[in-house]
Symmetry: C2
Amino acid sequence: MTPRPRDATATRAAILDAGRRQFARDGFERVTVRSVAAEVGVDPAMVMRYFTNKAGLFAEAAATELVLPDLAGLGPDEIADALVDRFFALFEESPTLLVLLRAAATSPEAAERLLAVILDQAGPALATAAVDRPAERAALVGSQILGFAFVRLVLGAPAAAAMSRDDVRAWVGPTLARYLTDPDLGP
Amino acid sequence: MTPRPRDATATRAAILDAGRRQFARDGFERVTVRSVAAEVGVDPAMVMRYFTNKAGLFAEAAATELVLPDLAGLGPDEIADALVDRFFALFEESPTLLVLLRAAATSPEAAERLLAVILDQAGPALATAAVDRPAERAALVGSQILGFAFVRLVLGAPAAAAMSRDDVRAWVGPTLARYLTDPDLGP
DNA sequence: GATCGAAGTCAACACGCGTGGACTTATACT
DNA sequence: AGTATAAGTCCACGCGTGTTGACTTCGATC
């Protein structure tokens, strides 16, 4: 066959990559189809060809898979370390979560998607570790993780931005552990 | 004198109020001068007359004063309750902080302003309560407060949105207390 | 070597935006 | 009554946006 042996999907991947970077840096509205195309060195119409829409490009750029490890049978401290490590790596390897975080602030659809990621992907894993009230505990874990990412990556607070992975483990790890496993917490 | 005894500043206040509501709901970019003027029932040019700019309107709509209570001499639990109560009231009485939170996600200037609010207004008050490392502990307190507000008000997570003030006290209060006063925390 | 289809470019459209300036209205003072 | 002055309206400009359709290029197949 070899219908189109050229690097057909190469520019498509380049557009997606540039779009992801720009969405992660500027949010949805401030990114223009033209700016993405310019970064790739391609005509703006290419974006429509491959993604039909600016929204289509965003949807693909914001596709996030948390792939959390199995938390069952782990002690509180191990759970906390596993969560910190995973999210630390997640924000480093690809900015999809940051894309979603930035866009969620001004777009109800993006907010809904981010909430779905937390509830549907992190929810089950966290529920196996929660002593009770899994919904509340998952929401609190999410609030601390997103809040820290916000202060560190969006606001750029020096004290938070300067922390190493081990620092984050030591500072916020215990909070996550208590949110999930402290039986005395809550009303 | 009475240079203009008419309700001169009334429409100005109405524009500011409508702008604040729309900025709190939609962020900076999605709000248009026209939409604000339409909500007030006034010509768009009135916005320029009173605020010179869309940016000028935003700047005034985002002016935030935390007015935190004095935390010196309080125990950990009292500190936590005082913080939760103050921020709970703050988000209810006026959406300026929400305006700043939403806009900070996509605007570096807004992010800088929100960071300044945390550092300059909350920082000193929190520093009096912190056992050590005031910068790190203030950043962590801010991350939890903003993160919870984000999950509750922006994402609208049911488990977080349904919490009463006392629920929030019971769930996140202890976290704030530990961030400030736990001497064993951190690396 | 002719041809077909995909990859990519070009110019333009329609729209909504922020903003500016000329114009109108109406109130308070002389 | 007349007038100055502030409040408010109208209209339109210029720009950047997302998006579209027709055109061009070019490599692989027959």
